[in-house]
């Protein structure tokens, strides 16, 4: 097992991770992200305060630091007296769930299309890539309004919309990598020993090209979280009473002058989550450039 580990750090992926780890941005981002994640997972489950329970007496309570004496609501409450900390954390849960699943979905879908297209070439490639082009030409928000307007906006349908909008980028990147990879000698060698096309794509090409793309996917999680917030904001995301960043912010804008914390508190959580994800993704991308730049 010890040996396996030694191998891993010598592979391209291992070198990328270890290079990324050396960047302070990566460590800081990872720390903040893990902290937020743990809070989002643990706190709503443990706390006896509800994120959705309306309490008219406790509405518009400012955060504790603003001189509020009610320590049950550290970050204050909204216009209906719901705890902002918990609402933000549940919102973060939803945003992360949707962001991560959407990226995983578009990654898998795009990678399969891209590898098949790049490896098979010819007519298959042309057809798949024209479909990709067509998909790429539709703006995300228009697509979202169309689909979510017709179907009920559930977490699942939001993910479907995001996957539909996002896969072409992955397909394009995977295709170009698979195209150059499929001309390499080891693919020829695999054909010679009689490996089937499926085996060559899954066992030989995919492990070589996907990890670097997956690293970049981290940046996309942040992007998808923003889209999720946008959908919530314009009212086509997950519907109230379930809190999402989008609908909390949308409600809060009405009380911006008197109770600015309703928008600022969830905004800060979203900001911290995005910043940490972006600095992780950024460090990974830089590391990727370092590792590949050193080669050619």
């Amino acid at each position: 097992m010890e040996k396996e580990k030694a191998h891993f750090w010598h592979t391209v992926n291992g070198r990328m991770l270890s290079t990324a780890w050396k960047r302070p941005g990566f460590k800081l981002g990872l720390f903040v992200f893990v902290f937020l994640l743990l809070m989002a997972l643990i706190l709503p489950a443990l706390s006896d305060v509800s994120a959705t329970k309306i309490s008219v007496r406790e509405r518009f309570l400012p955060p504790v630091l603003m001189g509020n004496a009610n320590t049950a609501h550290l970050f204050g409450t909204d216009q209906l007296g719901r705890d902002l900390l918990l609402r933000s954390l549940v919102g973060l849960q939803n945003a992360l769930l949707i962001g991560v699943l959407a990226v995983v979905g578009m990654f898998i879908f795009g990678a399969v299309i891209g590898i098949v297209s790049g490896y098979r070439g010819g007519l298959v490639d042309t057809i798949l890539m024209r479909i990709t082009d067509a998909q790429m030409s539709i703006p995300v928000v228009i697509l979202a309004i169309t689909i979510l307007g017709v179907a009920r906006p559930t977490p699942f349908s939001v993910i479907v919309v995001l996957v539909l909008a996002g896969w072409p980028t992955y397909a394009r990147v995977a295709r170009s990598a698979a195209l150059s990879e499929s001309k390499k000698e080891y693919v020829r060698a695999a054909k010679i020993i009689g490996a089937s096309n499926l085996r060559i794509m899954a066992r030989h090409i995919a492990p070589n090209i996907l990890p670097p793309i997956a690293f970049i996917g981290v940046l996309d999680v942040a992007r998808m979280m923003i889209f999720e917030a946008i959908f919530g904001f314009i009212g086509i995301g997950i519907q109230p009473p379930t809190p999402t960043f989008g609908n909390i912010l949308a409600d809060g804008t009405k009380y911006l002058i008197n109770a600015w914390w309703i928008t600022v508190i969830p905004g800060l959580f979203l900001f911290a989550a995005l910043l940490s994800l972006n600095s992780i993704g950024n460090a990974l991308e830089k590391a990727r450039n370092d590792v590949f730049g050193g080669h050619s």
Partner: protein, 606 residues
């Protein structure tokens, strides 16, 4: 002026200033070079040959620096000269040609423009028209065909050999008194390399240029030089004329260098012919044409005729060699033989059964019977799999073994090819080139095939490793009754390894002969040309003066009518222009040449 040496190097030391401390690269190198003399500098890679040639032109990259001694050019010390003076001297008096001509020029500027601007920079008195004329004359002198047309072409349109000529023109345009040729023949095919050497010789006679010819190839250096300098680890071991060096080498190192040169004619052992007369693989009129985009037309493709109408048999248990130079269709043929691609016309029979008539499933089964081993040990293994996984993969694909049986079979094969068992857990990047090549062999062998096709498998390895692997092949053949096909550009290798050899030229098999026959009585003029171009320290049986060809092979896009070799054949006759020769046999040898047909008819009628 005449008795003063052009260049004298005295006690030259070059040191690399590394963070870990100073490391000597050259120590105490001294020699003189007279006008019109050719000095060969030989040694193994890493001996400091390139550093020496760079030091002479005062062009040492960091962290290298001259620490002691001097380089005198007509009595002027170059190592103390200012950068500016050295720059002028380098452009005008001393010319340097490197080993990689293909990347030496800006790909977006036409060749002629490069050369003209360089010439006008060193000789500002010339007008543009004069400079152009001078370059065109030099194109003629180095035998670049249709110089006017090629003048406006871009670097990517030139082959390696042509590009090297361009670099020579570039070097000669300023009329230098000293030419430094740093490994210039290394990337070229033997016949082209020989042409370049012949060309340099001619230029020295015409222009009285002194040449320092740096080469890793001893025979090549012997061929051109009047004096040889043997370098080892930055020290001069020996200075002698080529003949004395070969006859009476003074040091063990030189003796080793000489021993390492492969012999062509003085070989004690060649593989014996197969006892069986049963063909295991028969190729019948196989042809393959690729269609690529024609860049001269908006729509339209051009047909690259890579393999044209090739037929031959490979007998069970024999070693068959296929030789030819780059672009002759060897690699395409190897793809056809291993059925990664199907021929457009013709067929290949394995064990008497037509492969093209087989179903995909039958072909998959057949893959256990014949295997191709690829050339490049670095890229032909999947980087993310361990050695055991790589060698075991064919067994999984063909469901031959699994679990414990698989691990045992892999271990057994690894032992057979001489891989230590603890390499099994390693990844390919942790192995040396020859170990990787053994992994390749093991992966092919694990299915117990009957036929192994080796596509330049040994060419990336050094002499010693080649010999070891050839021994391994012999051993495996004795145990498993393998049949081998060696596909190679290296005549010395097939001479040692093969019983029968086929010579390819422009997609055709022009001669198929037994080893001894081919090397002692080649029938086809191209076989003779290849032999005459072989760099060897033995006396070459075929004099380059009479047998070596001019020019380069025609493009496989438009192949000459009639006999495809006629455009370069020294003895072409009228009939060659119209009639395409067919393979003729005299029992053992098959030759594709009209002249040979005539002689066969004569002997038959006589």
């Amino acid at each position: 002026m005449a008795d003063q040496p052009v260049l004298s190097v005295c006690n030259l030391d070059v040191t690399a200033h590394l963070p870990s401390g100073d490391a000597p690269v050259l120590s105490d190198v001294s020699f003189d070079l007279a006008t019109g003399e050719v000095l060969g500098v030989i040694g193994e890679s890493g001996a400091g040959m390139t550093v020496l040639s760079r030091a002479i032109v005062n062009w040492l990259p960091n962290p290298l620096a001259v620490t002691k001694g001097e380089i005198l050019f007509y009595g002027k010390n170059m190592s103390t000269m200012s950068q500016e003076e050295a720059r002028v001297l380098r452009g005008k008096e001393i010319a340097y040609i490197g080993s990689d001509p293909t990347t030496a020029l800006d790909p977006t500027v036409p060749i002629g423009q490069h050369l003209v601007s360089k010439l006008m920079a060193v000789s500002p008195e010339l007008s543009k028209a004069q400079a152009r004329q001078r370059i065109l004359d030099l194109f003629d002198a180095v035998r670049i065909p249709s110089p006017k047309a090629r003048f406006n072409e871009f670097p990517f349109q030139f082959s390696g050999g042509m590009m090297q000529r361009v670099m020579i023109v570039d070097a000669l345009s300023a009329d230098p008194t000293l030419l430094i040729a740093d490994n210039i023949t290394q990337p070229l095919d033997v016949t082209i390399a020989k042409q370049i050497v012949r060309l340099l010789n001619g230029l020295r006679d015409d222009f009285d240029t002194s040449i320092i010819f740096v080469s890793a190839s001893l025979p090549m250096a012997c061929d051109i030089s009047q004096r040889l300098l043997v370098l080892q680890k930055g020290r001069v071991l020996e200075q002698a004329t080529p003949q004395t060096l070969i006859d009476t080498p003074q040091t063990n190192y030189s003796r080793r260098l000489i021993e390492k040169v492969p012999r062509i004619w003085e070989v004690d052992h060649i593989p014996s012919a197969s006892e069986s007369q049963r063909p295991i693989l028969s190729v019948r009129n196989a042809a393959k044409t690729y269609h690529t985009k024609d860049h001269d037309k908006v729509f339209g493709t051009q047909a690259v005729k890579a393999v044209r109408d090739v037929s031959f048999d490979i007998l069970e248990g024999e070693n068959f060699g296929i030789v030819g130079e780059s672009g002759c269709g060897k690699s395409t043929l190897s793809r056809l033989l291993s059925w990664i691609e199907a021929p457009d016309r013709g067929d290949i029979f394995f064990d008497g059964k037509s492969i093209s008539a087989m179903s995909a499933k039958e072909i998959k089964g057949l893959r256990c019977q014949f295997q191709l081993i690829l050339q490049d040990p670095y890229t032909s293994l999947p980087a993310h799999m361990t050695i055991t996984q790589i060698i075991g993969e064919p067994l999984i694909i063909h469901r031959l073994a699994s679990g414990k049986a698989l691990r045992e079979r892999v271990a057994e094969v690894m032992q057979e090819v001489g891989l230590a068992l603890d390499t099994g857990d390693k990844l390919p990047f942790q192995l040396s080139a020859s170990q990787r090549q053994r992994v390749n062999i093991a992966r092919a062998m694990v299915m117990k095939p009957r036929l192994l096709i080796l596509d330049e498998t040994l060419s990336s390895l050094d002499q010693l490793e080649q010999a070891r692997l050839l021994e391994l092949f012999d051993k495996l053949q004795a145990e498993h009754k393998f049949t081998y096909i060696f596909i190679s550009h290296d005549l010395a290798l097939v001479r040692r390894a093969c019983a029968r050899i086929g010579v390819m030229y422009l997609g055709r098999m022009v001669e198929i002969a037994e080893n001894q026959e081919l090397f002692f009585e080649p029938r086809h003029p191209y076989s003779r040309a290849m032999l005459s171009a072989m760099p060897t320290i033995e006396k070459n049986r075929y004099d380059a003066k009479t047998h070596l060809l001019d020019g380069e092979p025609p493009s496989p896009v438009d192949i000459p009518s009639g006999c495809s070799f006629r455009t370069r054949c020294p003895n072409a006759v009228e009939a060659c222009k119209t009639l395409d020769p067919t393979l003729r046999t005299n029992g053992t040898t098959l030759v594709e040449c009209h002249l040979y047909e005539v002689s066969v008819q004569e002997t038959q009628s006589a």
